[in-house]
Amino acid sequence: MADTKNRVRTFIAENFLMGANAAKVSDADSFQDLHILDSTGFLELVSFLEQEFSIRVKDEEMIPENLDSLDNIDSYLERKLHAG
């Protein structure tokens, strides 16, 4: 969902990159590998996702496959928001 990715990209750009390298992060880039988010950063990201998209991220969902790139977050939210 383009809108989802844009909202998350804006959050990350404004809170972690301070505008410096925002344009260079592609949808598939790993936040961990590029050292954009550390463990505190992921907790902030989770807090943002819960408030912005009115979801509750479960403990077992705190995995890189769900949170470690814009593509991964997009797929995760797609599943979460359309789950029964």
């Binding site: 550390d38 463990s39 992921f42 907790l43 807090s47 403990d59 705190m62 890189p64 949170l67 470690d68």
Partner: protein
Amino acid sequence: MKLSSSVLDLDCAAEVARISSRMVDILAQHQRRRGVIVALSGGVDSSVCAALAVRALGPKRVYGLVLPEKDSKPSSKELAQRVAGQLSISYSIEDIAPTLEAIGCYRWRDEAIRRVFPNYADGWKSKIAISGGTEGRINFFKLIVQSPDGEVHVTRLPIHEYLQIVAATNYKQRIRKTVEYFHADRMNYAVIGTPNRLEYDQGFFVKNGDGAADIKPIAHLYKTQVYALARYLGLPEEVCSAMPTTDTYSLQQGQDEFYFSLPFDRMDIALWAHNHGIPAAELAAYLGIDPASGEHIYSDIESKRRATRYLHARPALVGPVEEVGD
């Protein structure tokens, strides 16, 4: 190099001699101080540091501080006093609970806890525990509280509450260090820092709290080696055999559940193996875990190094001041 528990074997006599010589050198030649201050927690790290300082300088040049607060175990203070007595060093006991109360340490912490558990009140106990990283998940912290009748509740800590609880409890380490430097200044002594290698490497200390010091005599030693020195130096058996705790939260909390995710002896081997280029699969086989977990352990070590690099860093200057080497 093959992995075995003997990789951490230490020639204690040689190591004590080496540390003693370096401490004298650092104090006399570089820092020009007359002795050292050691805050004694009753734990193995501070006890070994005090014993090493006595070996290096003699008991008259080592001053101990016992600094309990509201959540300290009473046995910690007793053990600290016993160590000071055995080493024949002068020491004083200063209860920092009133200072922590005044500065809002307990109030800020409890306010954050109550945002998560509204019933949390006097008589309740709490601790936080790390989860995730060594299982390949993203690290997060759980808050565990226990009511006076023993009922336990656990939940993941949201970011703001986690940061506030950690910030509030960091007051404990920072106030202790403030007291240490007061005595150091009035006696013209240096302040000992007591982190072991695991803590130093993995950033398990508070910036300008227990991370601040003039000399850190055991920062190069794995925790297993610190225990070996404790036995060699003849410290009390309770010191030599106690499991590492934080003695910071009101519910008893092991360092492994708070930060390291593995018991210290396995964490030592993992860190040593990583530092010596041992493949993760070989570490995993040695620890009796699956290969993927071995990879996660190494990745978690690196991740903690990165996240805590700022704790070691000097303040960043915007422009150089070459005259003082900055």
